[in-house]
Symmetry: C2
Subunit: 272 residues, 2 copies
């Protein structure tokens, strides 16, 4: 069985891309013609996937956009479609889970057995023991929130500790040195914070970093690539959601998404 | 419209109880006869609710136990049943959500519009701006993780900051002084940490505190009540899940749950 890390590394090379497309599909933002289909979110996703699959190293559906409206079945259909049609592309379930052991077990089942995702995002606030049910799935990617892309992320994450380091650095340190026994830990660092991205890259030289914030949130691709690359000019999963999937609100949305994805991939590669 | 806080305060008084029953219903642990029903999780919950409703100040279903197996419909049925049959009992959706604004909006829709919960648990790691879509729902309860009940909770939460205070104290301070503009913030402090519970109670004199850890996790009820009560001898939502709902694994499970809930409620009241 090929694991998440192998899939990701293979994909970075084979398709020469660090771009991840976020499938945060909002019913209110998809074209009217698609909205009238039986499974509108899935139909939209399928069309986007078909025009972007060559350009991505991963897909990242955000579960809240499905669970808010009872559309879990369309999330299942989306992952099923990717597995069946483009099995070499890893899928990251973005659910930012975190809970005590007996509940975390259930969330691991949700991500890996129900949805059959290759990786999942998790929240470290409750401590490493709560991540254990995820971390023990050695073939999966466990992507730990470190420094997030939102404007207020510093409120907790940048609090200085008594040894003069910010909390997010502690999380990077723990991820690198304590939680990564199965070599399956990745980190989240928002592209809106390139200095912190460089710091995390120093603390965790080889860990793949998922970088949200490109596009709608305004992060600089140049700064991300220069701050976050590993020595082998990879190491990044640079996510864009809205600026790809809503590149056009008309019937050409899928082609427009393909065009947007290509431009972002090329811009990323320009700085590698 | 009566809001979460009013419902909770009313319930504390009218039924003289601080006990919350956690509906963390695991298919593998429910009696065989119930397991064969069409909606086994809902049937189990309904029976438990019918024998415990007089004894509780709230119910708290843990969403992972439903989403792991695609049983969201049975979670909906459970909340619907409580609303229809015992409308005075508030329901806390335990989902520990947290994400950037546009996604947090979706999670607020999940909790409050899809499931129609009265309150939801949230994770503060990403900062107050990510809690805003929850906090702005003034009629709902927003229950912020502060110091959780698990053995490893100190790994992040008890890191000392440069002014000599632990992170969980910062979260308590922010909850009390910055995030509570709508007077709808509550906190989570594990009953396994009574000293920290006393500290949080000092920092947040009136905020309701949800206390997990009684029963399977081994917290002392006496210590919880003495450390966490408000001046009016309430202020606590003391949760027990497994020791109530699995009090018996046989066909008398519902009556046994009623008996277990009564004993815990009485033990709590003994120390108030």
């Amino acid at each position: 069985m090929i694991n998440f890390s192998e899939k990701l590394h293979h994909r970075w090379k084979s398709n020469n891309t660090l771009l991840c497309v976020g499938l945060d599909t909002d019913l209110e933002k998809i074209p009217g013609s698609v909205r009238e289909e039986k499974y509108p979110i899935f139909s939209f996703n399928k069309a986007i996937i078909d025009t972007t699959h060559d350009l991505v190293c991963a897909y990242k559906p955000q579960i809240a956009f499905y669970s808010a409206f009872g559309a879990e079945n369309q999330l299942e259909m989306t992952l099923q479609y990717i597995r069946a049609t483009y099995p070499e592309i890893p899928v990251i379930l973005d659910s930012k889970r975190g809970d005590i052991g007996s509940t975390a077990e259930m969330y691991a089942i949700e991500a890996f057995d129900r949805y059959k995702a290759d990786a999942v995002t998790v929240n470290p606030y409750m401590g490493g023991d709560t991540l254990e049910p995820f971390l023990s799935r050695a073939d999966k990617g466990i992507i730990v929130l470190c420094k997030t892309s939102n404007p207020g992320s510093g409120e907790i994450q940048s609090i200085l500790t008594d040894d003069g380091e910010e909390i997010y650095k502690k999380v990077a340190y723990l991820s690198q040195n304590r939680w990564n026994l199965n070599n399956n830990v990745c980190l989240v660092v928002g592209g809106t914070y390139p200095d912190e991205l460089a710091t995390v890259r120093e603390l965790a030289p080889d860990i793949p970093i998922l970088v949200p914030g490109v596009g709608a949130q305004g992060a600089s691709i140049k700064a991300i690539v220069q701050s976050g690359m590993t020595d082998d000019h990879a190491g990044l999963i640079i996510n864009s959601s809205r600026s790809v999937i809503y590149a056009s609100g008309e019937s050409d949305f899928a082609e427009a998404a393909g065009g947007a994805a290509e431009r972002i991939r090329d811009e990323i590669n320009q700085y590698r």
